[in-house]
Each structure stands twice: as structure tokens, then as C-alpha cells.
Symmetry: C2
Subunit: 260 residues, 2 copies
């Protein structure tokens, strides 16, 4: 699917209290977050979005104005609208996009696929993904490196029926970008649980630290606009390089990662 196809793969909800321009905005933000729309990529024209969705020009313009104001895109006169450099983007953008996250820390990201295969979903995966007809999932194990030192060990589970054509080559890019390209499914929310763990011998070797070393274990649920979990990831992060900084005031909490 091309950009316009992916954006328009699901209709907007005309019965929602959430205005249409906001719904369109969020879909584009999600596509930027996944890395499907990467820095410098052109957005579809306002005209083409009006036609695809049957929206008024005013609605699409309002959507674009918000994206420009938030700094996510820039307009180039006579050329179009382009995704901007994303260092300071809040929220989902860096949570779901390893490359964007590493760029924000001035580090060079790389990735090594340990295994890429279809498997029978383990019970806990099957239950969380609410698999019904087929129990087949893609299981994707990767080591993610920053400046060539291992940082994360990730295992992702995705229903095969969501994107049967997924290939190992596509994992060079963001996984969420590949899911969006195949199925139009976009992450609206990520629920994560952080806990402390210790590394077994296999994990320790992959992360190049002694067995028994401490690590953060993050269980992530990626949730689409219908509230369905469409991907699960178990992320093991080296304790010496990956910390979480939280600032709390009486108005709430703010969160960022500390990566060294």
C-alpha cells in the first residue's frame, strides 16, 4: 500500500465526538510514529485526502495546520508538506520507533535478526491477542544496538493473519511501519509494564554482559484504534545502559528514557 492507501485504509468515524480533522491528524501522527512516514517523506496532498475520505477542504486544512503547529511536519512552498526531523517529538513516536529514539540520543541504531519464524502462539500470547481462527503468529527476535553495543533484546508476536506477507527484509525498517504497510493497522496506544529481571545465559551472551546481570524487562501491548491488541513485545534492556526518568508534580508525571 502507498501512503494514501494506508492513511485511508480505515474510514474515519463520523459518529465519534472526536472531530474528523483530529482523527485524521492522529492517523498521520501514528504513521510518523511507526516510521512509515519517515523524516523528509511527503504527505499526500490536501486534495487527495479530501477525495479519499470525502472530506471538506477546510477539514483537511485544519488537520495540516495542527500538524505544522506541533512541529511534526513542515510546509515547503510550491513543493508540498514533509515530515520534519523528529528529535523532540513526544509520546508514541520514540516509544515505538527504535531508530527515532536512538537518533534523539545522538546514537547510531542497528539491528540484528536472531530469528524470524511462524510459530504456534504460546498460551499467554494467544489469549492477549485474542486469536480465534488461526493460532499462528510471527515470532521475531532481534538484538537492537546503539553505536554497535547491544542495548535491547526484543521478541515480538504478531498474528500471521494480520500480515501474512511479512518478510525478514522489511525488518530493516520499523516493524510497525511494515505492519501499517501490509494491513493499515496503526498503533493508537502502547501499554507497557516495566519490571526488574536478571539475564539468563543466552540473553546475557546476546547482550554481551555476564549471566545474572540485572536488566529491565518491558512487556508491551500495541493497541489499535479499535482497542485491539495487535502486537506483543517482550523487551529486555541492559540495566547499565537503559534507565527510566520520571518527573512528578502535583499536576502529574512526565517520563523519558535515559540511554547511555
Amino acid at each position: 500500500m502507498n501512503t494514501l492507501d494506508v492513511i485511508a485504509s480505515q474510514p474515519l468515524n463520523t459518529e465519534s465526538e472526536h472531530p474528523l480533522y483530529r482523527q485524521l491528524q492522529e492517523r498521520i501522527v501514528q504513521l510518523i510514529a511507526t516510521g512509515f512516514l519517515s523524516e523528509g517523506t511527503a504527505l499526500p496532498t490536501e486534495q487527495s485526502l479530501c477525495e479519499s475520505f470525502g472530506l471538506s477542504r477546510a477539514t483537511v486544512r485544519k488537520c495540516f495546520e495542527g500538524l505544522v503547529k506541533s512541529g511534526r511536519v513542515i510546509r515547503k512552498r510550491g513543493k508540498g508538506t514533509f515530515v520534519s526531523k523528529g528529535n523532540d517529538r513526544p509520546g508514541l513516536d520514540t516509544a515505538l520507533n527504535f531508530s527515532a529514539e536512538m537518533a534523539g540520543f545522538g546514537k547510531t541504531p542497528s539491528s540484528h535478526v536472531v530469528s524470524f519464524q511462524q510459530v504456534e502462539a504460546p498460551n499467554w500470547v494467544s489469549e492477549l491477542l485474542e486469536l480465534q481462527e488461526s493460532n499462528a503468529v510471527w515470532q521475531i527476535e532481534r538484538v537492537r544496538l546503539a553505536d554497535e553495543t547491544p542495548l535491547l533484546l526484543t521478541t515480538a508476536y504478531i498474528p500471521v493473519e494480520l500480515c501474512p506477507e511479512l518478510s525478514e527484509e522489511e525488518l530493516e525498517d520499523s516493524l510497525y511501519s511494515a505492519i501499517a504497510r501490509h494491513s493499515g493497522t496503526l498503533p493508537e496506544r502502547a501499554d507497557e509494564v516495566y519490571e526488574a529481571t536478571t539475564l539468563n545465559a543466552v540473553q546475557a551472551k546476546q547482550l554481551r554482559v555476564p549471566a545474572g546481570s540485572p536488566a529491565l524487562r518491558i512487556l508491551r501491548h500495541s493497541i489499535d484504534s479499535q482497542g485491539r491488541i495487535f502486537e506483543l513485545s517482550v523487551i529486555i534492556a541492559r540495566a547499565d545502559r537503559y534507565k527510566l526518568a520520571v518527573t512528578t508534580t502535583s499536576r502529574g508525571a512526565r517520563l523519558r528514557k535515559n540511554i547511555t
Copy 2:
């Protein structure tokens, strides 16, 4: 110091862009957060606050209205204004108040003081607290239990000159409440860094788990309204009972603890 004395121990900033009613509100919210103003405690009367701060009745009324609206206090006709039950309070309230936090999980909190002593501040403590004249700090080690099972091991450092009269008996209550009572100093912000670690033999024994077990290590800076760090805590939390749940959307992140 009584409640009115603590609230009024520092003047409001009349040159701030932050309106006076909001400044007064935040001070009261901080006192609730520390546990100094606990559930059911009466707030000072509007009249007494007007007199202490030289504020107009309208300003104090606006402050109280905001507190009622946020659910932090309730008015009882003819009786006064009282701190409400705090299960759902956001932000600082539970971050800094172990008892309030445990109550929110339906657990009975308790605490065991391992050591309470004046020591020469370690270098990192001295630097962060910006100690100048005296290098003496209170070092307070406690085990915090939920339903009689150890959950946290906390070590707090506070400049002795901030509250020279601090006593071990006061630690039955919240430490921040005691600091407020002695010095009028209130936490406006807490900066925390979460990382994974493993327990040494002493820590493991105190938390009743095997040595080498994983744990979350939280380094907390408590910061007052002048931006000064007035307390440092190192918190070691059992990995099997203490997790952090983070929900991320394109609008930002929300955070809560998972305690089992």
C-alpha cells in the same frame, strides 16, 4: 508548627506570573501529598488564611473552590473544610506518601526503622544537596512493608540543618510530613530515575528474598519551590512485587505503579 504556621511559613511570591490563589492551592496540595494534612484533617479557615497571608477573601475562596473541585478536600456545612479520601489522587500524593499509596492498593502499610543516625554526607549526597556549611545529614534506613511482607528498602538523606530536631518517633508518619512540620519545606517536584539491579546479601535478607534476586532501584530527588534538592532517597523495590505501568499515546505518557 501547626497547620496554619506550616502553610504560612514561606510568603507567597507576589511577583510571580503564577496567580496567588494557585500558589496557595499548590502549597495545600503539597501538604496533603506529604501526609502532613491527612484524610479527615481540617484545613485552616478561609478567614485565618486571609489574615496570615494578607490575601483578599475572593483569592482564598477561589483557592478552596479549586481544591473542592479537584476532589482533594470536601466542605461540611457549618463544620469546615476537610481533606478527603485520597485513593484517586494524581501525581505527587502517592509518589511521596507510602501510606496513601498502599491504601490505594487496599494494602496495610507498615514500616521498620533499620537505622536512624547523623552521618557525614557521602560525596554524591553532599554534591546533590549542595551542602555548604555543615556536611551532616540524617541517614534514615527503613524497610516498608505491605500486608506485612517487605516491599521496599529506603535510604533517605536530609541535611541536619534543615530539621535538627527530627526524631525517630516522627518516622511513624511520612518523612515529608515531618520535614514540613519542622522546616516548612514542601516538595514541589520529585525527580526519579528507575533502573534494574540485583540484591546483595544484606538487602536480600531485609526484603526476605534470595541474594542476587532482581530489584528496581529508584533514586529520588525531592525538590522544593525554590528548586533546591532538600532530600535524596535510594529506594530498592522487590521486582516480584513492584512494577511500573506506562500508557503512551500521541498525547503523552501516563504512569502508575503495579503493586502485588
